[in-house]
């Protein structure tokens, strides 16, 4: 143990602890901008670049960055001396001197770490004025990059390159011109970006934000010619409350439904309904492949990979296109919902598809892109018209002056609002595969599960494996969240080192609960874990917990689709993938 003094108080810490963490033990809050530590998710970003965390260490010539300096025995640290405060404020003023004063109209305003710090430090003028770096804004289908607001914390780079291993972003140029950008400073649209949104999720400023669809949404809600349907993903209800001051992990399903109704949606449905549908299709596909495999069919591709995460789909289309025959062909719940809404449901309410607007509320940035894919359009009309993030929904609720906390709890509309516990857990890593197992087991064995909770599939480790006994047959299951972990599993499959039958992959840390469209976790991984807990709570509270028992799903098959994997199901609920490996430069 190491003993040191911080602000005249002694503290004992383990060897290797930084001053920042030692101070935290004493409840001394040292401000940071670039440092990020996502604990259990094993993401630590410590470039020591912003320098707002500097402290005075006795005997040292210059100030030390608390986030990167390890404690030493007998160290004497001052975290708020005049010298420190002056340096900290000056550094902040420098950062602000190269930053647009756009707070009034900035998408990040109110949730911006830089803005918070300026408020806290009481910056009232910028003594160091000069040239500001300016860059061309980048509008992709899902993400807006406004690098004028970039403070070079490099968190996005760590997420994209180290955690996701997508490698789209890099520090480019040098000195004052330095910025984070895709190759050749082209737009994200011209890169291999998966739109996982993890860069957006960690950006402390308004430099990276999601494309805004609320303006269009308000316009459509106001249009009497249009019937507007909304679907909300499972992870949204576990996080939305945070935007209204609730504890992370507070479930707000009922209030959310009430809010959506007050916003003017004609039908408030649940993506969970489509998640149950996904299980029916994906589960059937898995069983089909498994049965054929067990019968000795050498052609069948195993392991089967889940395909409900569009960030992940983008990833393998770019990076592993030669393996695009192993993921399930099942569409994501968002898209299944859209295609059923614009056929089956549109028929029930006697509405043409172009009069029906399908909106999704997602924890996700990639879904904004997914719904624009051509294969999910019929005569140019998309199955899902647009997708708004959890953050955007929160903003809309605030804009309409609703007091979210006092809203009543309401239920989803029928028929596409009915769902099971299996669908809810789609929101967390391990959930999709658990839901699939619940159904596949019963369909395969013809027996009823005694215990629907598969604890061995749950957790937060980046790569997990477990096996499930299918009545004598051992089914090996792999789970990865984060694309870097997915890459590890894919490399194994490619090298023939993999003996999994099925693998669930989610692009975001923790799965959708940690999605790029969620309220910002501000570098606190406990937020993600609390949401995960909430999801399992919602599941255990549900009356029906297996997808194939959802009465409205049963009805849907009876009335419309026939059986899972039927021709109609194929046409509406399955898809195909593309080889998007960059073959030559995309010139703009």
């Amino acid at each position: 143990m190491i003993k040191l003094t911080i602000d005249n108080r002694t503290v004992e810490v383990e060897k290797g602890t930084t001053i920042y963490h030692a101070a935290k033990k004493l409840d001394i809050d040292i401000p940071t901008l670039c440092y990020m530590n996502l604990g259990d998710l094993k993401i630590e970003h410590k470039p020591g670049g912003c320098r707002v965390c500097v402290v005075e260490v006795e005997g040292r010539r210059n100030l030390a960055p608390a986030c990167a300096t390890e404690c030493a025995d007998g160290m004497v640290v001052q975290t708020h001396s005049i010298r420190v405060m002056n340096a900290r404020k000056t550094v902040l003023e420098l950062i602000l001197s190269d930053h647009p004063f756009d707070c009034l109209i900035c998408a990040k305003s109110g949730q911006c770490d830089l803005q918070d710090m300026a408020i806290k430090m009481g910056v009232r003028s910028i003594p160091y004025q000069g040239e500001k770096s300016t860059y061309k804004p980048d509008f992709s289908p899902a993400i807006i990059r406004d690098m004028d607001k970039c403070i070079m914390c490099r968190r996005c780079e760590t997420m994209c390159n180290d955690f996701q291993t997508v490698g789209v972003l890099s520090g480019v140029n040098r000195g004052f011109e330095a910025v984070v950008a895709p190759a050749f400073e082209r737009d994200l649209d011209h890169s291999e970006c998966t739109y996982c949104g993890q860069c957006v999720a960690v950006c402390p400023t308004g430099a990276l934000t999601e494309v805004d669809h609320t303006t269009q949404l308000v316009r459509d809600l106001a249009d009497p010619e249009k019937k507007v349907v909304v679907q909300t993903a499972p992870a949204v209800r576990a996080a939305l409350g945070e935007a209204f001051g609730m504890e992370p992990g507070t479930l707000v399903t009922g209030k959310m439904v009430a809010a959506l109704r007050r916003l003017g949606f004609d039908y408030v449905f649940d993506t969970d309904f489509a998640a149950d549908l996904t299980i029916m299709e994906e589960g059937a596909e898995l069983l089909d492949r498994l049965t054929r495999f067990l019968e000795g069919d050498k052609q069948v591709k195993l392991p089967m990979l889940t395909s409900c995460c569009p960030g992940w789909v983008n990833f393998f289309e770019y990076h592993f296109p030669d393996m695009r025959d192993i993921p399930s062909t099942a569409r994501s719940p968002q898209q299944m919902f859209g295609s059923i809404a614009k056929t089956y449901f549109a028929d029930t309410i006697d509405t043409r598809r172009d009069e029906l607007v399908v909106v999704s509320v997602m924890p996700c940035v990639a879904k904004k892109y997914e719904c624009t894919r051509d294969e999910f359009k019929v005569d140019g009309n998309p199955d899902v018209d647009y997708s708004v993030s959890t953050r955007e929904l929160a903003m809309l609720i605030k804009r309409l002056n609703m007091d979210f906390n006092t809203l009543p709890e309401e239920d989803f509309d029928k028929p596409m609002g009915e769902s099971t516990g299996a669908a809810v857990i789609f929101g967390t890593t391990g959930g999709v595969i658990e839901a699939a197992v619940r159904t596949a087991y019963e369909v395969h064995t013809g027996k009823t599960l005694e215990k629907v909770d598969f604890e061995q599939l749950r957790g937060i480790d980046g790569i997990r494996s477990a096996s499930v006994d299918f009545d004598g047959t051992e089914i090996k299951i792999g789970i990865a969240h984060g694309l870097g972990h997915a890459r590890t599993l894919l490399d194994d499959i490619k090298a023939g080192r993999s003996d999994y039958h099925a693998i669930e992959i989610m692009a975001c840390p923790g799965g959708c609960v940690g999605g790029g469209g969620q309220p910002l976790h501000h570098g606190n991984p406990d937020v993600i874990k609390a949401r995960q807990k909430a999801i399992y709570k919602e599941d255990s509270g549900k009356a029906i917990r297996k997808s194939h028992e959802n009465p409205d799903i049963i009805k849907l098959y009876e009335q419309f689709l026939g059986s899972p994997m039927s021709e109609k199901a194929h046409q509406l609920l399955h898809t195909h993938y593309f080889d998007k490996k960059r073959k030559e430069v995309l010139l703009d």
Binding site: K46, P47, G48, G49, C50, R51, V52, V54, N62, L63, P65, A68, T69, E70, R83, N86, A87, T90, V91, L94, I95, S97, D98, P127, Y128, G130, E131, I151, M152, S170, G171, N173, R174, G175, F176, E177, A178
Partner: protein, 597 residues
């Protein structure tokens, strides 16, 4: 091997090559052959003599005749006179700038008198492309001794005792550094030679590598043996093609002779060396940035600790030393730590190579004992200020250093004294400035450099230096007020206090030291809109003094924008609205009729 009566040493350094010393070499050989003297006179290409300003240099041995500014066409006369008749060619001898006397023997030249050459011992003496010459000059003897007779601990102790401190800028004791690296456990360790030489205006590392590459290789092997590394890497800037070429030749030759490779000299010790190239980034001289650059990354520094000795190249323990540091090593083993420690001051042992440049008569590379005064360097070795002007300041330590003035002239130069005086040793650049240099402009020049070379990783350096530059620009334009001066100082202090690496931690030094020593100049710019040295373009005007103008038209003819009007033998006038302040008129007027107002 033939024994020659006479050797003609022709400088083959970059400076002299730029003035066709390679042609001169060929011409000398041809003439010698024509005279049938090829068995008596040997013509040798050597490394830099240090006196580049007067290059190309030819030195004749044994009589030590030192010819300066020799042109290829002079070969005929040198051979005909000196080699054949034994008479010196007087017109090519060096003329003392002070007493205007011709000096024949290099030993009599003020430039060389006070120099002690340890790191540069072989530069200008041996053919760097011929390992035999290095061997003949006790080359690889130290290595042989260390490998055969000393344990690594003993060899390290010798380094510690010598008191050698790193010549790359920081001045960290080399022996201690080796000790630390030797104690860190690691299956693979590395020795890295830092030959990035980023300080613009310093070229000692280049000269050593061009003139005596084997001394660095030898030292790296010793270093490897001491710390338990089997692999060495030399990180050299791509702007030094000649040094690269000579290094490659030296490495090949050393391998051929079994001085590199496996089981060196039968000692059972393996060591080999590879070259890595820089690509134009000053910050890559900083050791962590250098390591990232060698790994194929952007050369961005990382926070220390971990130091390279703990986690360096590819995450392995790595010892980084500068070229000049290494060049001292073999001599220390040959002559002993005690001998080395007897030179220099209490805390700075041995010598230091300086690149003397700027407004000084003898521009060049010098090696002097630590403890010598600036006065000796500038006025004795350097031969005083050019054109009889007044000394104003000397900048040491390059962009990280500061300006020293009149009052520092008698301070003994060593690592600690320079820091106390507000500058630093740096890599050894020494730029002399005279009364015509504006200190605000000088500070601005260095900041311009820093802004361009900052890696951009940390905010104080990335943005702060830009703002410093902008403030200086404002001052140079006469648009600043007193508050700007306060801001300039505060900003400088904060950048120094908060930057991540040595670049930002020292970049404000040129500002702070000029503010400390020449505040009156800053005030003149700010309060009187006046640049006392007549440099800052926005604050000066070129005017023609009617009393002196004879109407010779020289100014008008040379004005690039034709803004000077006047008939022959009539008073000329400058149209201020068109003048670009290039100063051509002032340069051309022989009658002192153009003045800076």
């Amino acid at each position: 091997m033939a024994t020659f009566m006479m050797h003609m040493l022709v400088c083959g350094g970059t400076g002299c090559r730029a003035s066709a010393s390679d042609v001169l070499y060929e011409n000398l050989k041809k003439e010698i052959k024509e005279q049938g003297l090829q068995d008596d006179v040997q013509v040798v290409t050597t490394g830099c003599f240090g006196f580049c300003e007067k290059g190309p240099i030819v030195k004749v041995i044994p009589d030590n005749t030192f010819y300066v500014s020799v042109e290829p066409a002079d070969a005929k006369e040198i051979v005909a006179e000196h080699a054949v008749k034994g008479r010196r060619v007087k017109r090519l001898l060096y003329v003392d700038p002070v007493n205007k006397e011709q000096i024949a023997d290099s030993k009599g030249m003020g430039f060389y008198k006070k120099q002690i050459r340890i790191a540069l011992r072989n530069c200008g003496l041996i053919d760097p492309e011929n390992i035999e010459e290095y061997l003949a000059a006790d080359g690889y003897e130290a290595m042989g001794k260390v490998l055969a007779e000393m344990t690594p601990e003993e060899a390290i102790q010798e380094m510690v005792d010598s008191g050698l401190r790193g010549r790359g800028g920081g001045g960290f004791p080399t022996g201690i550094k080796w000790q630390i690296a030797s104690k860190v456990a690691g299956d693979q360790k590395y020795v890295v030679c830092n030959a990035d030489e980023g300080d613009p205006g310093a070229f000692m590392d280049r000269s050593i590598l061009e003139g005596d590459p084997h001394s660095v290789l030898e030292a790296m092997v010793i270093n490897g043996y001491c710390i338990g590394a089997t692999k060495g890497l030399i990180y050299i800037r791509a702007e030094y093609p000649l040094a690269i070429k000579r290094l490659k030749i030296a490495i090949d030759q050393a391998r051929e002779y079994g001085l590199l490779g496996t089981d060196i000299l039968g000692s059972g010790f393996d060591f080999d060396i590879e070259i890595r190239y820089g690509a134009g980034a000053f910050v890559c001289g900083e050791e962590t940035a250098l390591i990232h650059s060698m790994e194929g990354e952007r050369g961005e520094p990382t926070f220390k600790p971990p130091f390279p000795a703990q986690s360096g190249y590819l995450g392995k323990p790595t010892n980084v030393n500068n070229v000049e540091t290494f060049a001292n090593v073999p001599v220390i083993y040959n002559k002993g730590a005690k001998w080395f420690a007897s030179i220099g001051t209490e805390k700075s042992k041995g010598t230091k190579v300086f690149a003397l440049a700027g407004k000084i008569n003898n521009v060049g590379l010098i090696e002097v004992p630590m403890g010598i005064t600036l006065r000796e360097v500038i006025f004795e070795i350097g031969g005083g200020i050019k054109d009889g002007k007044n000394f104003k300041a000397v900048q040491t330590g390059g962009p990280s250093g500061g300006c020293l003035t009149e009052k520092h002239l008698d301070t003994p130069i060593d690592f600690d004294n320079l820091i106390d005086a507000g500058s630093m040793m740096g890599s050894g650049g020494m730029i002399v400035m005279d009364e015509d240099d504006c200190m605000v402009a000088v500070a601005k020049f260095y900041l311009d450099f820093t802004v361009e070379e900052s890696c951009g990783k940390c905010s104080p350096c990335r943005i702060g230096n830009k703002r410093l530059y902008e403030l200086l620009e404002k001052i140079a334009q006469g648009k600043a007020d007193k508050e700007d001066l306060d801001n300039l100082r505060n900003l400088s202090m904060v950048i120094r206090d908060t930057s991540l690496c040595g670049l930002g931690q020292t970049s404000p030094n040129p500002v702070l030291s000029t503010m400390d020593n020449f505040m009156d100049e800053y005030i003149a710019h700010v309060e009187k809109d006046n640049c006392p040295a007549g440099v800052c373009k926005d604050l000066i005007r070129y005017e023609i003094i009617p009393e002196n103008c004879v109407g010779c038209t020289a100014c008008a003819r040379n004005c690039p924008v034709n803004c000077i009007a006047g008939e022959r033998k009539q008073l000329h006038t400058i149209d201020q609205s068109l003048c670009i302040k290039c100063g051509a008129c002032l340069e051309k007027c022989k009658f002192n009729a153009v003045a800076i107002i």
